[in-house]
C-alpha cells in the first residue's frame, strides 16, 4: 500500500508543479512588457521579448533624482510606525471581540462593522480632521489608516481558532487580560500577524489618497506621491532626455513593486504549515 501512495504523490506533485509554472508564466506576461520597456531606450508599442536598445537610463532617472530621497524616508517612517500602531490596536480590539461572555461584545462588534458600511463623505471627513488640526501634518496619514475593520475581523477569526482551554488555564493561573494576550494570543498567531501586518504595511506604503486630500505641504509627501508625479507627470511637456518618457515611466512602476518582491519571501517563513503548533501540548 505504501508504494502505491508514493507513486500517486509524485504524479500529482509533478502535475501540480507544472500547472504552477504555467500559471506563473501567464501572470508574468503582462508585467514582462513593463520590465522590458523599463530597460529599453527605444519606445515601442507592442510586446517584445527583449529590449531593443538596452539601457539603464530609466532607472538612473528615477534613482538619481534627489527629490526622491526624503519621500522614501518618510514612506519608511510612516509605514513602520503606522503598521506597528495598526497592529497594536487591531490585535487588542480583535482579542476583545472574542470574549464571548463579555457584556457589550456584540455591541462593539456591530459598532465596528457599521463603520465599514456607512461613510460620512469627503467634506465631513475633511471638516472633522481640520477641526482636530490633523490636516497638513504627518499624523493624519499615520493615524487615519490605522483602524481597518476588515483586517480586525480577520484577526478575530484567527484568534477564534485558539483553543479555549488555553484561556481557561491562563485565567486560572491568575493572568490578567493583557498578560494572556501577550503570552498566549500573540505567540500563537504568527501567521495572522504576518499576513495582517503585510496588509497594513502595503496600505501605508501605497497610500496616496490621504496625502492627496489632506496634505498640501509637499515636504511631507511620501515615495508613492513623488513617483506618481514621475509616472503621470509626462503629460506636461518638457524636453525629453535620452531615456524616453516611456522608459522612465516603466522604470518607476518597477521600482514601486520591488519592495514587495523582496518582502514577501521574507514573511513566508510564517506561512509554513503548522507554524503555530508546538506552543501548547495538552
Amino acid at each position: 500500500m505504501k508504494a502505491k501512495t508514493k507513486s500517486k504523490w509524485s504524479v500529482f506533485r509533478v502535475v501540480n508543479g507544472l500547472i504552477f509554472i504555467i500559471l506563473a508564466l501567464i501572470i508574468i506576461v503582462p508585467m514582462w512588457k513593463i520590465l522590458v520597456d523599463s530597460f529599453d531606450l527605444k519606445t515601442a508599442y507592442g510586446m517584445k521579448l527583449w529590449p531593443e536598445k538596452f539601457g539603464l537610463d530609466g532607472y538612473k532617472s528615477v534613482f538619481s533624482n534627489p527629490t526622491l530621497y526624503q519621500p522614501l524616508l518618510i514612506s519608511f517612517l510612516t509605514t513602520i510606525s503606522g503598521t506597528a500602531l495598526a497592529l497594536v490596536i487591531s490585535t487588542m480590539g480583535a482579542y476583545v471581540l472574542i470574549q464571548w461572555n463579555m457584556p457589550g461584545r456584540t455591541f462593539f462588534a456591530n459598532f465596528l462593522l457599521f463603520t465599514m458600511i456607512f461613510n460620512g463623505g469627503m467634506i465631513p471627513t475633511y471638516l472633522v480632521l481640520r477641526s482636530l488640526h490633523l490636516t497638513n501634518t504627518i499624523w493624519v496619514v499615520i493615524l487615519f489608516p490605522a483602524l481597518n475593520v476588515y483586517n480586525l475581523v480577520l484577526l478575530r477569526n484567527f484568534f477564534e481558532g485558539i483553543p479555549a482551554s488555553l484561556f481557561e488555564s491562563a485565567t486560572l493561573d491568575g493572568c490578567s487580560p493583557m498578560q494572556t494576550f501577550l503570552r498566549i494570543v500573540l505567540p500563537m498567531s504568527k501567521a495572522a500577524l504576518a499576513s495582517i501586518g503585510l496588509f497594513y504595511a502595503v496600505a501605508y506604503w501605497n497610500d496616496y489618497t490621504h496625502y492627496k486630500l489632506y496634505i498640501t505641504n509637499s515636504d511631507l509627501y511620501n515615495f508613492q506621491m513623488k513617483l506618481r508625479s514621475v509616472i503621470m507627470g509626462s503629460d506636461m511637456p518638457q524636453t525629453a532626455g535620452d531615456a524616453t518618457e516611456n522608459t522612465v515611466k516603466n522604470a518607476a512602476i518597477i521600482v514601486v513593486i520591488i519592495p514587495f518582491m523582496v518582502l514577501y519571501p521574507f514573511l513566508q517563513q510564517y506561512f509554513v504549515k503548522g507554524v503555530n503548533i508546538g506552543a501548547v501540548k495538552e
Binding site: M232, M236, T239, G241
Partner: protein
C-alpha cells in the same frame, strides 16, 4: 437579531448625541475673515471718494495647482524672488495636481478662503455664479493691463472668452492653447506627397497614401495606418480637437449661433456628415482600429514607433517633445505643422484656467493691481512667471549640461540663455515657469534661444490659425440631463465610426433613448 438592531440603534443614538454636544458645526456660510491682506484702514494712504488709492497688500494667500512651480521645482525660490520684486509676502497653498479640485472644494467648504485661486472654466463659472469670486470687470476696464492686452492681437479675445454676461471674474495669464495637426515629413516623402493638403479631399488622399502605401519605408505596403487619437471624441471642451479634419464645422455639444441663440450641434446635418466621414475613414482603415481604447500615452508611443503618421496634438512645446522622442527612437523628427484645412477653418484655443480673487479677500483692488496685473506687466514680474528664477530654472553661465552623456551633453557659452535641468526629471530641462512664452497675452522681450525653432514654428502656426473656445453657462436642466446626454452622444459617435451603426440608425437610437428630448430641454433652458 433584535438584540443586534438594538445595539446598532444605541450606537447611532450615542453618536448623534455626541455630535450634538460636539462643536462640529457646519461651515460658515460667510467665509471666515481672512486677515492676511493688509489693513487698508491703517491710515497711510487716503481714500477720497472720488479717486480710491489702491493700497498694496502686505501679504496674500494663494491657492495654486501644479502649473506654477512646486516646491520640488524651486517653488520657494520662485516666490522669494517674487517678494523681492514686489514687496508682497505670499502664502502658498499648492495641493497635489490630481486632487486640486477636491482640495479646492474642501477648502471652500471649510471657510478659510484664500485671496487668490486658480480655477478651470467649470469651477470658474460655478463659483462666480455663487458669489465666491470678486467681480474684476471695473478694475480691469480701467487698468493698464487692458491696454497691454489690446496691443497684442488675440489677447483681448482670450479675456473676453471668460466674461459671463459681460462681467469678468478671473484673469487668464496665457492662451489656453489647442491642438495642431502634425504630419511626419518622411512619410510625406516616402509616398511622394510634395505639398500639404489644404482641403479635405487632399487630406483623404494623404490618408489613403499613408494607409495603402509604404510610408514607413519598411518595404511592406498596408501595414500602417494614417491617423490615431485617444478616443473618437474628446472628454472636455472642445471635443473635436483630436480629429478636427473629420469633424470640420460640426460640434457635438452646445453652441451659440450669430444671434446668440443656443442650439445643440449634435442635432445638425454637419454632425451627421462628420460621423459619416469618420465611419468611412475607419472602414477604409485610415484610422487606428484601437482608437476607442487608446490612452494618450499609448497614442504617443505608437507615434514614436512609427505606427501612424498624422497626429493632432498640442501646439508649442509638444512639437519639440514629439521631435526629440522620435529621434530618440531612431526616426526622423521632422514634423510639418499643418495649417487648418479649408473645411476646418481654424483650430480651437481652449478656455484657459483663470486667476481669480475671492470675495473674502480684504483688499481685492490691491491684489488685482499688485498681483494679477503684475503677472503680465511685460517686465520683471512677467519674466519671473515665464522663465523662473536664475540659477534654478535658467542660467546664462558658461557650462555644460549632462556632461557625462556624450550624446546628450549641451555646452553653453557665457551669456547664452538656457534652461536648467528639471529638478524632478534631471534628464530633461525646464521650458517655462508658469506662463508659456509662446502663449503669453502680453509681449515680453524673450531671451535668444529660449524656445526651440520647432516649438516656435508650431505655436506661431497655431496662434495664427485659432479661434477661442467659449464658456457654456450651466442650468438646472443641464446638470440633470447632460451627463446621460453626453454619454449617449459619445456612444453613438463611437459606434457609427466603428461601423456598428449607420448614421441613420444612430439618430434613431438618439431619439428613442431620449437624447433628443434631453437636448431640446437643455437648449430651451439655455435660451431663457
Amino acid at each position: 437579531m433584535k438584540k443586534k438592531l438594538v445595539s446598532l440603534f444605541l450606537a447611532t443614538a450615542m453618536v448623534a448625541t455626541m455630535a450634538g454636544c460636539g462643536n462640529n458645526d457646519t461651515p460658515a456660510s460667510t467665509p471666515a475673515s481672512n486677515g492676511s491682506s493688509s489693513e487698508s484702514q491703517a491710515g497711510s494712504s487716503e481714500q477720497t471718494p472720488a479717486v480710491a488709492e489702491v493700497e498694496k497688500p502686505d501679504s496674500i494667500t494663494v491657492m495654486i495647482d501644479g502649473t506654477v512651480p512646486t516646491k520640488e521645482n524651486y517653488g520657494d525660490e520662485f516666490w522669494k524672488k517674487y517678494t523681492e520684486l514686489t514687496g508682497i509676502e505670499v502664502n502658498v497653498i499648492q495641493p497635489d495636481h490630481d486632487a486640486y479640485y477636491d482640495v479646492v472644494g474642501q477648502t471652500i467648504a471649510g471657510g478659510d478662503w484664500p485671496d487668490v485661486i486658480i480655477l478651470s472654466s467649470t469651477y470658474y463659472a460655478g463659483y462666480a455664479a455663487e458669489g465666491v469670486l470678486w467681480d474684476m470687470t471695473d478694475a480691469y476696464a480701467s487698468s493698464d493691463l487692458k491696454a497691454r492686452h489690446e496691443a497684442k492681437a488675440g489677447s483681448a479675445g482670450v479675456v473676453d472668452s471668460l466674461r459671463i454676461n459681460g462681467k469678468l471674474f478671473g484673469m487668464p495669464a496665457t492662451h489656453g492653447n489647442g491642438c495642431v495637426t502634425y504630419v511626419k515629413q518622411t512619410w510625406l516623402d516616402n509616398v511622394g506627397i510634395t505639398s500639404v493638403p489644404t482641403n479635405y479631399e487632399e487630406y483623404v488622399a494623404m490618408l489613403d497614401a499613408f494607409t495603402t502605401g509604404d510610408p514607413d519605408g519598411d518595404g511592406v505596403n498596408g501595414n500602417t495606418f494614417a491617423v490615431s487619437a485617444a478616443g473618437f471624441a474628446g472628454k472636455e471642451a472642445p471635443y473635436t480637437n483630436y480629429l478636427p479634419e473629420f469633424y470640420q464645422d460640426a460640434y457635438p455639444s452646445f453652441i451659440q449661433d450669430e444671434n446668440g441663440v443656443w442650439y445643440d450641434g449634435f442635432n445638425t446635418d454637419s454632425m451627421k456628415a462628420a460621423m459619416q466621414r469618420l465611419a468611412d475613414a475607419y472602414a477604409a482603415g485610415y484610422i487606428d482600429p484601437t482608437t476607442l481604447t487608446n490612452g494618450t500615452s499609448d497614442c504617443r508611443n505608437k507615434f514614436y514607433s512609427d505606427e501612424f503618421g498624422i497626429f493632432t496634438y498640442w501646439a508649442g512645446t509638444w512639437a519639440n517633445n514629439l521631435k526629440t522622442n522620435l529621434e530618440a527612437n531612431g526616426l526622423s523628427g521632422d514634423l510639418v505643422a499643418l495649417p487648418p484645412i479649408a473645411e476646418v477653418g481654424a483650430y480651437v484655443d481652449r478656455i484657459t484656467p483663470a486667476w481669480c480673487i475671492t470675495s473674502s479677500c480684504e483688499n481685492p483692488e490691491g491684489v488685482f493691481k499688485y498681483f494679477i496685473e503684475a503677472m503680465q506687466d511685460g517686465g520683471d514680474v512677467q519674466f519671473l512667471f515665464t522663465y523662473g528664477v536664475e540659477g534654478c530654472h535658467w542660467s546664462t553661465a558658461a557650462e555644460t549640461l549632462w556632461a557625462d552623456d556624450e550624446a546628450k551633453a549641451k555646452t553653453y557659452a557665457e551669456g547664452e540663455f538656457h534652461f536648467l535641468p528639471n529638478a524632478e526629471k534631471p534628464t530633461t530641462a525646464y521650458t517655462k515657469a508658469h506662463i508659456d512664452p509662446m502663449l503669453a497675452l502680453v509681449d515680453l522681450e524673450a531671451p535668444a534661444n529660449s524656445v526651440t525653432e520647432t516649438a516656435k514654428n508650431a505655436q506661431e502656426l497655431f496662434n495664427a490659425n485659432c479661434k477661442s473656445a467659449f464658456i457654456v453657462p450651466t442650468t438646472e436642466t443641464m446638470s440633470e440631463f447632460n451627463g446621460d446626454l453626453t454619454t449617449l452622444k459619445n456612444e453613438l459617435i463611437a459606434k457609427v465610426t466603428m461601423g456598428e451603426l449607420s448614421v441613420d440608425e444612430a439618430y434613431a437610437k438618439y431619439e428613442a433613448d431620449g437624447g433628443k428630448a434631453w437636448s431640446d430641454a437643455i437648449v430651451e433652458s439655455l435660451n431663457q
